[in-house]
């Protein structure tokens, strides 16, 4: 589980990284809103934690920008402000939750876990990229044609479609799709990428998954 943390107070950031890492999360820490947007554009995160008051770009604007780009990663605001209006602004900007400072680490972790549990309900049932529509409920993709997908193929395709043009490593893909499987190993990623590639060809899709066995894979729209 990967978290993007944007918090400009170095002390607090360090403490959060230590606690979250201890809880088993892997954390990328950045210190202003612009950096947060850049990181979120290129990386794959399961959750984002943004401070509201940050240099260069505040947390609310950063999240607004990301949501406008189609980023649907669950987000939580840390806020020194506890006025009702400020919390409303944050939630309206696309946040899924907020926590007023000072907060207890225990509560933060409980809120992150709760967001993760709800994540599937937030995901749109249909995702479109290029000519292709993925229906996560029907487990099918369609373009010129439609074709059924297996459960893991749907998960993997969803991940690619929510992260167009991003280079996703075999490890990242594995951790996101197969993390709850006991007997899986990273070889499964190449096999499933192969399944998806042939299925995309079969429906005459104008998107394709680029990359080599064991390396990074990127979903691209073919012009």
């Amino acid at each position: 589980m990967k978290i993007l943390l944007a918090e400009d107070e170095k002390e607090l950031s360090r403490a959060l990284v230590a606690v979250l890492t201890h809880e088993g999360f892997s954390v990328d820490a950045v210190y202003d809103g612009e950096e947060a947007v850049e990181k979120a554009k290129t990386g794959v995160y399961n959750c984002m934690i943004f401070d509201i008051m940050m240099p260069k770009l505040d947390g609310v604007s950063a999240l607004k920008n990301l949501r406008a780009m189609g980023n649907v990663t669950p987000a939580l605001f840390l806020t020194a402000k506890s006025e009702v209006d400020d919390r409303v602004v944050g939630l309206d900007a696309g946040a899924d939750d907020y926590l007023a400072k000072p907060f207890s680490m225990k509560e933060l972790i409980a809120r992150i876990n709760s967001m993760m549990r709800r994540v599937n309900k937030y995901m749109p049932k249909q995702i479109s990229v290029g000519s292709v529509v993925l229906d996560t409920e029907e487990q099918s993709i369609s373009s010129e044609n439609s074709i059924g997908l297996a459960k893991k193929e749907t998960k993997l395709m969803e991940l690619f479609m929510l992260n167009v043009d991003k280079a996703l490593s075999t490890k990242e893909l594995f951790n996101n799709v197969w993390r709850e499987e006991d007997n899986a190993n990273e070889d499964v990623v190449w096999v499933y990428v192969s399944f998806l590639r042939d299925k995309l060809r079969a429906i005459d899709a104008n998107i394709q998954i680029e990359g080599e066995e064991g390396g990074d894979f990127t979903l691209k729209i073919i012009s």
Binding site: E144, N145, I147, G148, R197, A202, I203
Partner: protein, 203 residues
């Protein structure tokens, strides 16, 4: 007298020669690769009765010109394969037969029909050392070729039953479920091919 008149003999000659060549190709493919390039091969000359019925249905005169020139499926060949790529392997072979040229192709595999039907259709023009209806020598004859996988074939058989059975209960539901199954079967066909390629490292 049959609607095909004296040309019926030529239809049989052409069908027999095509079948022989397609079978021979399967055998040499097997000798080379240890696997067959198709599972079933069937061929029929459209019966006099159904050809006349088709002429009527299409508003054509019931004569030999309609049967051999206007309609191009007096000879029908169907090749059923295990894997999707084998369809194109067979197609390439048929294109390489010297007297064959393909005048029309429809790829209902990549562009399936709305009901889920998948198959590859081609109309072959055969140049044969016999006179044709128009008096050309050598003459031009036509063959309808259908290529599909076993999965597509059994799906088509089921859909055929639906088409010819009247008053099916829950018609709409059955039609939409049939479409879903077509997409699932296509998914299996594609995945079988992917696995085959992974085994042989062709990805």
């Amino acid at each position: 007298m049959s609607i095909y008149q004296d040309y019926e003999q030529t239809l049989h000659e052409i069908a027999d020669d095509l079948i022989r060549r397609i079978k021979d190709n399967n055998e040499s493919y097997y000798a080379q690769n240890g696997t067959k390039v198709y599972e079933h091969l069937s061929c029929r000359i459209k019966s006099d009765e159904s050809m006349r019925e088709k002429c009527q249905r299409k508003g054509l005169q019931e004569d030999v010109h309609s049967a051999l020139v206007e309609l191009k499926d007096a000879i029908g060949i169907r090749i059923v394969t295990s894997f999707v790529d084998d369809i194109f392997e067979n197609l390439e072979f048929i294109k390489s037969i010297p007297y064959v040229s393909i005048i029309n192709e429809k790829d209902y595999i990549r562009h399936s029909k709305p009901n889920g039907y998948r198959s590859y259709h081609a109309i072959l023009e055969v140049t044969w050392d016999r006179e044709d209806v128009k008096g050309n020598f050598p003459g031009k004859y036509y063959v309808e070729l259908q290529l599909r996988t076993i999965a597509m074939d059994s799906w088509a058989a089921l859909e055929h039953q639906l088409k010819y059975k009247k008053n099916v209960e829950n018609q709409e539901l059955i039609v939409s479920e049939l479409k879903r199954v077509a997409d699932d079967m296509a998914a299996c066909d594609v995945s079988m091919q992917t696995i085959k390629n992974l085994i042989h490292k062709k990805q």
